[in-house]
Amino acid sequence: MSSTTSHSSATTDVPDAAGRFGAFGGRYVPETLMRALDELVVAYDEAKKDERFAAELDELLRNYVGRPSPLYYAKRLSEQCGGAEIYLKREDLNHTGAHKINNTLGQALLTLRMGKRRVIAETGAGQHGVATATACARFGLTCVVYMGEEDIRRQKLNVFNMRILGAEVRPVTSGSRTLRDAINEAMRDWMASVETTHYILGSVVGPHPFPLIVRDFQSVIGRETVLQCRRQLGRLPNLVVACVGGGSNSAGMFYPFIEHEKVELLGVEAGGRSSQPGDHASPLSFGAPGVLHGSFSYVMQDEDGQTSDVHSISAGLDYPGVGPEHSFWKDSGRVRYTFARDDEALSAFDALARSEGILPALESAHAVAKAIEAARGRPRDEAIVVCLSGRGDKDAYEVARLRGEAIA
């Protein structure tokens, strides 16, 4: 597909009323959930028109989350690469340590508007679970978080934190025991509790209007970055890089840049161990369009439509699907997608720690890996912005285990 002619089709005026981003998106869920989705559309539309809603969220983002997050020039890392300048959008400095809080506070306010008092969520890395538990503690909402057993093992710290915050963490033992099964279990809870409960989905996936709502709440990342680039660099960057699990930090970063066609956008999926099926979690690179979790988008499936098992070193990227807007951006050519392997992410984790004194989340390390690669091949007068979606404290145990070192 020629990228010059197709860019124009990557409009920002999506989704339509049916939740379609071009061919992608929609609502493939049981009838039982349809009324709640319709009510959510209405509540979100009303909230968007309500200045007090915007003001309340704004105040929370500033004084509770600590926004705007800095845009930081990684001088030593850039010098070591010997090419383009690398800037880090520091979502790791947010309260709770990742971008996830931008979305959970917004959706917690929506929960209150809809008169619901109980919240459920899924979590992979535990960052969305912690961010949801935090928002629920802040507003006095009951919170249940579904988490795969395998992820409970690799993200112990976050599990403990969620419990301290008053959330109930329910282990999911079905299927691959990771993020995908946690979403299934949260959906099943919602099937029975939909009249009293809001499901705070953690990424730009799922049925309409979730991909829209989560993108909008996360777009604060890209909006700030555009302003900060103008102020600090005097211009927009040449390239923006973000990791893609379900796709929320990347969608929030990319969306405000879509109309700035000169800015290249690069999404980085989890390349895992190899390009063999089952060894990675890169549906945009290796998958095909299909239905998973209520949405039509690129997905890893077998020839019968059964969802494939996937692998990533990082629990937050270990997901066979991706948000429908990314599929739309991919097919339009506006965003390019690639993948970083497990070992590349681990090297980037080390490189950022040693050069800048910043421990990135393993998810974010995938983006850092590809930014380093890009910087090496570009001139010094180019600028690359990386969305540093989260901090790496939660990953210390897993990284130590992979290195055969014992801590605590």
Partner: protein
């Protein structure tokens, strides 16, 4: 007109109601599924729902989920399921309706799915994750093939929307009795009878009630207001025992259970 319409026309003419069991294709294996289908028909089932195993069934409770997981672990494929039905067709006097995720139908190609299912002798499909709003294309394909596309109405469905859904459904209308996932329930919701009765007055389409039904008293309560009753988890649970117990015995017990519920239909 599919074979499903014929069954309901006959039942209505005789003032009778339909009993529709659900079984998972390939649990414990397709040979046993074939035996179960024949036994269900022999013991008085009027139609049968055949569940196509899916990796991520969000509307299903633990019993049906586990049966799907077991079937998929044995690598049951859609083509083998169609083959099995095609093979048994002569011994199966009742219509078979597949319960299938849209993920599977879409991957297969909706038109191919309908054509191949029909060629195997299957009469229709229920797609639990394809709400009426998204089903226009598939409904068009089904109409062209005289293949029923059964739509669902849930307790959370607003009444005006229920009427719209009824207009797009064919074969029958599936009324989901509980707000929740599949699985046996001790008691059914208080307002269920009223809701089904209301819907009954709004449409000519047969209305079948399912989710949670497992006991003769459920059947006796619902028979006067519905055109048919669907029982899933209670049957899947019994069939699954064939993995560890003598198959003839399990088959007989499943048959006895179905006969008891059919008896309660009156």
């Amino acid at each position: 007109m599919s074979a499903i319409d014929d069954v309901f026309r006959e039942l209505r003419a005789g003032g009778r109601k339909a009993f529709m069991p659900f079984v998972t294709a390939g649990d414990p294996d397709l040979e046993f599924t074939a035996l179960v289908l024949v036994e269900l028909a022999r013991r008085g089932a009027n139609l049968c729902e055949l569940g196509i195993p899916y990796s991520d069934p969000i509307a299903d409770g633990p019993v049906i989920q586990a049966s799907y997981t077991r079937a998929l672990a044995r690598r049951v494929k859609l083509a083998q399921i169609f083959e099995m039905v095609g093979r048994e067709r002569a011994r199966l006097p009742i219509p078979i309706v597949t319960m299938v995720s849209y993920a599977i139908a879409l991957r297969h190609g909706p038109a191919d799915y309908v054509r191949e299912a029909k060629a195997a002798g299957i009469a229709g499909m229920i797609v639990p994750d394809l709400p009426a709003d998204e089903s226009e294309q598939l409904a068009g394909i089904c109409r062209g093939e005289d293949f029923s596309l059964v739509q669902l109405v849930a307790p959370t469905t607003p009444r005006e929307r229920a009427l719209r859904i009824a207009r797009t459904s064919s074969g029958f209308l599936y009324y989901v009795s509980v707000t929740g996932i599949t699985g046996e329930r001790a008691a059914l919701p208080q307002d269920l009878l009223d809701n089904v009765r209301w819907l009954r007055e709004q449409t000519e389409l047969p209305i079948c009630v399912g989710f949670g039904i497992s006991r003769p008293e459920h059947v006796r309560a619902l028979a006067p207001v519905a055109d048919g009753l669907i029982v899933g988890s209670a049957i899947v649970r019994r069939v699954a025992e064939a993995a560890t117990r003598p198959r003839g015995q399990v088959l007989r017990e499943v048959g006895d259970y179905v006969a008891e519920l059919v008896g309660a239909l009156g």
